[in-house]
Symmetry: none
Subunit: 210 residues, 4 copies
Amino acid sequence: MPTCKPIQRPGRPRSNQSREAILNSALELLDQEGFAALSIEAIAARAGVGKATVYRWWKHKAEIVMEAFLAKVQPELDFPPGEPFEDALRNQLLRVTRIFSSKMGPVIGTVIGAGQSEPELLRDFYKNWIEPRRAQARKMLQEAVDRGELRDDIPPDIILDLLYGAMYFRLLIRKDRIDRAFAEAVANVVMDGSIRNQKASKRSKVPSLA
Amino acid sequence: MPTCKPIQRPGRPRSNQSREAILNSALELLDQEGFAALSIEAIAARAGVGKATVYRWWKHKAEIVMEAFLAKVQPELDFPPGEPFEDALRNQLLRVTRIFSSKMGPVIGTVIGAGQSEPELLRDFYKNWIEPRRAQARKMLQEAVDRGELRDDIPPDIILDLLYGAMYFRLLIRKDRIDRAFAEAVANVVMDGSIRNQKASKRSKVPSLA
Amino acid sequence: MPTCKPIQRPGRPRSNQSREAILNSALELLDQEGFAALSIEAIAARAGVGKATVYRWWKHKAEIVMEAFLAKVQPELDFPPGEPFEDALRNQLLRVTRIFSSKMGPVIGTVIGAGQSEPELLRDFYKNWIEPRRAQARKMLQEAVDRGELRDDIPPDIILDLLYGAMYFRLLIRKDRIDRAFAEAVANVVMDGSIRNQKASKRSKVPSLA
Amino acid sequence: MPTCKPIQRPGRPRSNQSREAILNSALELLDQEGFAALSIEAIAARAGVGKATVYRWWKHKAEIVMEAFLAKVQPELDFPPGEPFEDALRNQLLRVTRIFSSKMGPVIGTVIGAGQSEPELLRDFYKNWIEPRRAQARKMLQEAVDRGELRDDIPPDIILDLLYGAMYFRLLIRKDRIDRAFAEAVANVVMDGSIRNQKASKRSKVPSLA
DNA sequence: ACGTAATCGAGACGGTACGTCGTGTCTTACA
DNA sequence: TGTAAGACACGACGTACCGTCTCGATTACGT
C-alpha cells in the first residue's frame, strides 16, 4: 500500500494562494498593459508576492501567461461527440468565433505575438490550446476521406489550415470582425472545395451574407 | 520642369548612409540573435551611429525591422498584368511561398508579433505590405464574379482571407513548411469551392501531394 | 598712420545683435535655472541663434556667463577718490553689501560655485571682478601703514581677506543676511585689530548692533 | 540590555562593502579628474557596482563626495576641552589650516561649489561639518563675553564669520596658500579687535610674517 | 553688378552620461 | 523549507547636450 500522492516533504509547503494570486495578476496586467509591458516585477508586486517565489515555480513570464490563459478557457475545448463531421466542424468554427470576438481574442493575439520571439511560448500555446482539438478534427476528416465523402488528394491538415487560418488571419492581421457570417462563408468555400460529391454541400443553407 | 518634392529644408540633410547602415545592422542582428535579443543600443553600435540618430527616425525597433523588410522585398510586390485571374492568384501565392520560406519569413513573423501590442505598427505593415497586392487581387476577383466565373455569394475578401490566412497560419502559428505543394493544395480547395462551373478548376494539374 | 583697429575683413561681419541676445539669454537662464542647468543648447535656442554661432565666439559656457555678468555690474566698480582710507573701506564694504543682497548675490554664488570645478572661470572672475578694487584697497592700506596709522606686522592682503572673507562666507556658506549692521560690525573688529593707535577707531560711532 | 537601534528590517541588508567601494572610488576619481569630469557611471564602474546601487543611496555625486569627505575628516572634529578660549580658537584654526591645505581642501571647495545650486546639499554640509564646531566655539566666546574678557557689542557669530570667512575666502576664491602664518595673522587681528583689555592679546608671540 | 568670402539660422551627425527600469540572484527574518 | 522583503550586479532603455558638420540664405567687400 503506497503512501498517497502528496507526500509531505519537509519544510513549509507551497502556498496555493500565492500561485493563484500570481496567475490572476498576470492575466489582469496582460489585458491592461499588453505582453510587452508585463514584467515579473509587476506581477509579483500586484500579487503581493516575492519575486523569488515567481522564479521558483516558473521559468518565463510566458509560462505564467500560458498557465493562466489555459485555466480560463480550458473548459470549452472539446468537440461534442456524435455529430456528422461537417456539422461538427461548422459548430466548432462558431465556438472559435465566439472566443475570438470575446475579450479573450486580444489575449490570444498577444500570446501569439509574444510567441514570435519566444519559441517556447508558442510551442506551449500550440500544444495546449490548438493541437488537442485539431487532433480530434483531423481524425474526423480522415474518417470522412476513408468513407469517400471527402477528396483524398487533400490532406486533412490543409483543410484545417484553411479554416483556422482564415480566422487567425482576421484576428491577428486584418483585425476585422469575426462573426457567424464570416465563419459560415469560410466553411462553405472550404467544404465545397473539399467534398467529393459537391451537391452534398450545405452551402444553400446560408443564402446571403452581410 | 523640375519636380518640387525635394524642397531642401533648412539644416543638414539626413544622411542616407546612416539610414542604410541602421537598416542593415538591424536585419543582420535580427537573424543572428532574434527579435527579443535585438536592442537599439546594439543596432546603433553595429551601424557606427549614435543612438539618437536611430530614435530620431524610428519609434520602435519593430519599425526599423519593417522598413528594412520592405526595402528588401518591395520589388517583388506587383502582380504581372495580363494573366487569367486563377493563374495570377496561383502564381502570386507561389511568390509569397518563396518569401515566407526564405529568411524573410521569420522577419514577417517578428513584425506581426510586435504589431499585436502596437496597433500603429501593424497598420503600417498592413498598408504597405499586404493591402497593395490585396487590392489588385480583389479587383481581379470582382471582375471574375462579374463575368460569372465565380460564385457571387462569396465576397472576394473571404477568398483572400482563406488563401493568405492558410499561409500566415503556417508561418505564424504552426511554424510548418510553406512550399509549392502546400500553396497548390490551398489554391485547389479554394478555387474548387469558389468557381461557378466546377469543371473549370485546374485541380487536375496537380494530381498528388506529398 | 596705421589703419584703425576694426580692419574690415572680407565676408559678413559679426552680428552684434546675436552677441547681445546670447549674453542676455545666458543671464536669464542663469538666474532661472542655475549654472548646472545652463546649457549652450538652451542659450542658443532662447537667443534664436544657431549653436555654431555660440561656439564660434566663446569656448565655454563659463566665458559667456562671465562676459554677461561683468557687463551688468562693471559700472559700480571703483572706489571714489579722496576719502580717508577707513571711510573708503567702510563705504566700499557697504556697496558690496548692497550688491550681495541684491539679486546679483546668488549669481555671484553661482559663478564662484561653478568656478570650483572650472579654474579658468574662477580666474577670470577674480581678475575682472575682485582684483581691480582689491588693488586700489591694497594701495590705500599700504599708504596707511607707511603713514604709521596701521600696524606694520599685518600685510594689507590679510586685512582684505578678513573683510571680504566674512562677506563671502555669509554669501556662499552661511546664506545669512548681509546688511549694514553686519558690514559695520565686521569693519569695527578688523579696524580695531589693525589700527596702531586704538583710540583712532571709529568704533564708538556704532554703539549697538541688532 | 541591548541597544535597539539596529532593528533588522526585512530584506537583504545594505552591503557595507559596496558603500565603501563607492566612497573610495569617488574620492580617487575626484582628485584624478576633478569634479566636473566625475561621473556616477565612472564611480560605479570603478567600484564594481551597479549604477542603481549608487542612485539608491545618494541623490547627487556631490552627496557622495560629501559623505566620503566627512568619513575622512570626522575624527579631527572636536575642540579638546580645558583650554583657554583664545588658545582653543587659535589651535582650532591651525587644525582647519592643515585640512584646507591638504588634498581635502579642493574637495571642500567642490562640495560648497555644488551646494551653490543645490541648497539641500549645502545645508547638510553646514550642519555636519561647520555647525558642530561652531557651536562649541560660539559657547566659548559667549562665556568670554560674560566674563568680561571680550567686547560685548560684537556677537560671537561675527567673530567666527571673520575667522572662518578669511580661511574660506582663500580656499574658494583666492586659491592662495593657507598656512600657519596666515592663520596666526588672522587670529591676531580678530583677537586684538575683540578683546576688551587689549594688552591681553597674544599678538606679540608672532612678531613677523612672510 | 557680381563674384568671393565669412557669418548666420537650422538641424542632423557620432558620442557620452544621464537617471530609470527590469532582469535574475542573493541574503535576511519569519512562519 | 517556503515566503516577503528588498539589496545586489548587470544591461538596455529613451533623453539631453556635447561639439562638429553640412546645408541654403544673408551681407558685406573688392573687383
